[in-house]
């Protein structure tokens, strides 16, 4: 219970850090750390009924989110030669304040939702919802394509958090399928970033809307 809570607090803090950080490298590392921390969540949330299922899920999550994704994204950033976000639509301090507001909204909403009895921690649902909000916010408020991929990952982490904590008996196949989907998505996005960069010499998606054929 206590360790689960600490993991959830870490997830909240990493999300806030992402909202307030301009360096792409640091952001990628933070998302990687979030992935690794979340990897331990299935083991800790179901400590009493530990099985090979959860161990496999944890190992797969840590390997993909903690090692493979960061490696992809670092490669994309290196190829595109970008270091930091440029002038996001919403500033970093404003993003932080909005993030805290979003956390408040998630708590308010989850206090009104009926929760299953055997939920791992009372903070689980609000934190999952907050991750989803933070991910969506990153996607709409940042200009660099890499940051939007990170936003997508955070969004997926939110869904994963909710799934692991609430549904105790999801078939392994479904979870592995979701993980594979995300893997393919990030893979494609990494390649797309590289190609956008090669075609247009930048990965600033704001300027892509002015494209003419």
């Amino acid at each position: 219970m206590l360790t689960t809570n600490f993991i959830l607090v870490l997830v909240v803090l990493t999300n806030l850090k992402l909202l307030g950080s301009s360096r792409l490298g640091a952001s990628i590392r933070v998302v990687a750390a979030q992935g690794v921390v979340l990897g331990f969540l299935p083991i800790l949330a179901h400590w009493h009924e530990l099985s090979l299922h959860f161990a496999l899920l944890a190992a797969g999550t840590i390997a993909i989110k903690g090692i493979v994704f960061p490696w992809f994204l670092f490669r994309a950033v290196r190829e595109a030669e970008v270091i930091r976000e440029i002038e996001p639509y919403v500033g970093y301090v404003a993003s932080l304040v909005l993030g805290v507001l979003a956390l408040g909204v998630s708590f308010w909403m989850c206090m009104r939702l009926p929760m299953p009895e055997n939920i791992a921690s009372p903070w689980l649902a609000p934190v999952a919802l907050f991750s989803i909000f933070a991910g969506l916010f990153l996607i709409v408020s940042r200009k660099r394509a890499v940051n939007q991929v990170l936003g997508f990952l955070v969004l997926e982490n939110g869904i994963y958090t909710f799934g692991v904590g609430v549904a105790a008996r999801t078939p392994l196949l479904v979870e592995v399928g979701v993980l594979l989907d995300v893997f393919v998505a990030v893979f494609v996005m990494g390649i797309t970033i590289f190609h956008i960069n090669r075609e247009f010499d930048h990965i600033d998606v704001d300027r892509l809307s002015a494209l003419k054929d």
């Binding site: 206590l2 607090v9 932080l96 805290v100 708590f107 903070w123 609000p126």
Partner: protein, 302 residues
């Protein structure tokens, strides 16, 4: 009223300048220097009190009132903060709001006294001080609100009673977040690195120091002493939150007093291993502290 209630106030009055000595010694240790005597602040205060004050003709009564009001506010605030198991001299429900208000009053008079001199440097310092405190004050209030909500108490004296180890285990993440946020607020409010450098010699980069440049003699002694008291009070908040309880009240008091100097050593260590942050990055740090406090408050709700 209990005579023992005077103990926290007396300890604050006597020991608060020693905190600066401990911080400076810690920094000296890191730099490989011998450092100034531990009691240097007491010597400084004594020396300044012997001197006469010089007042510029452009200043008015506000300038002279500044240090006195500041000291009075700090002394009153010191009566509200408990130490160990001993309650504060004055305790009533919601006195933490008065505590925050007194610190605000102290800052307000420092700022208007600085503006009263008409010096552009002091105006700059005043502007920065007000800007940063506008970010730290909400953080401080949310921290105190979180404590009130966690303990179910509305007075600082009952809020900061030593908590048991079981409480730490129950609300560990919340307490940890509150302490980190409070440490950042402590550093910012007391003009320490990474927010302000107390040793800087360039007026352009100062925040607190530049506002008191024109004070001299007893006035400067008042400013210095109230700064010491303020640091003591914030350290007392930190110690009050983290210190686990023992059965013996006197042992608790001893531990709490020791804890104050541990906080001072911690501040010294932070000052030694960190550089000062750029002014443009500071709002992010302070808003971050507020965000941590708000997260703690929200987590405490469920």
């Amino acid at each position: 009223m209990n005579a023992l209630a005077f103990i926290p106030l007396l300890l604050a009055l006597v020991l608060s300048p020693l905190l600066f000595g401990v911080i400076n010694r810690t920094k000296a240790l890191f730099a490989g220097r011998r450092g100034q005597p531990l009691l240097q602040t007491y010597f400084d205060l004594w020396k300044l009190l012997q001197k006469g004050a010089v007042y510029s003709r452009t200043t008015t009564w506000i300038f002279r009132a500044g240090p006195m009001v500041g000291l009075a506010a700090a002394l009153t605030a010191a009566m509200l903060v408990p130490l160990g198991n001993f309650p504060a001299l004055i305790a009533f429900p919601a006195d933490f709001l008065l505590f925050a208000g007194l610190l605000g009053l102290m800052r307000f008079f420092t700022v208007v006294a600085a503006l009263d001199t008409g010096s552009s440097f002091e105006g700059m310092g005043a502007s920065r001080e007000v800007f940063f405190s506008a970010l730290t004050e909400p953080a401080l209030l949310v921290i105190l609100a979180t404590l009130a909500q966690q303990t179910g108490q509305l007075s600082l004296s009952t809020m900061l009673e030593p908590v048991s180890v079981a409480h730490w285990q129950h609300a560990g993440p919340v307490v940890a977040l509150v302490v980190v946020a409070l440490m950042i607020v402590l550093l910012a409010e007391n003009a320490r690195i990474p927010v302000d450098d107390p040793n800087t010699h360039l007026e352009l980069t100062m925040i607190h120091e530049v506002m008191v440049l024109d004070h001299g003699g007893p006035d400067l002694a008042f400013v210095l002493y109230s700064a010491g008291l303020k640091l003591w009070l914030f350290a007392a908040l930190v110690v009050g939150i983290v210190l686990p309880a023992t059965a013996n009240a006197w042992l608790n008091l001893l531990l709490a007093t020791g804890g104050m100097f541990v906080v001072a050593v911690l501040v010294g260590v932070i000052e030694s291993i960190m550089a000062r942050l750029r002014l443009v990055v500071l709002p992010q740090l302070l808003v971050g502290a507020g965000a941590l406090a708000a997260v703690a408050f929200l987590l405490g709700l469920i």
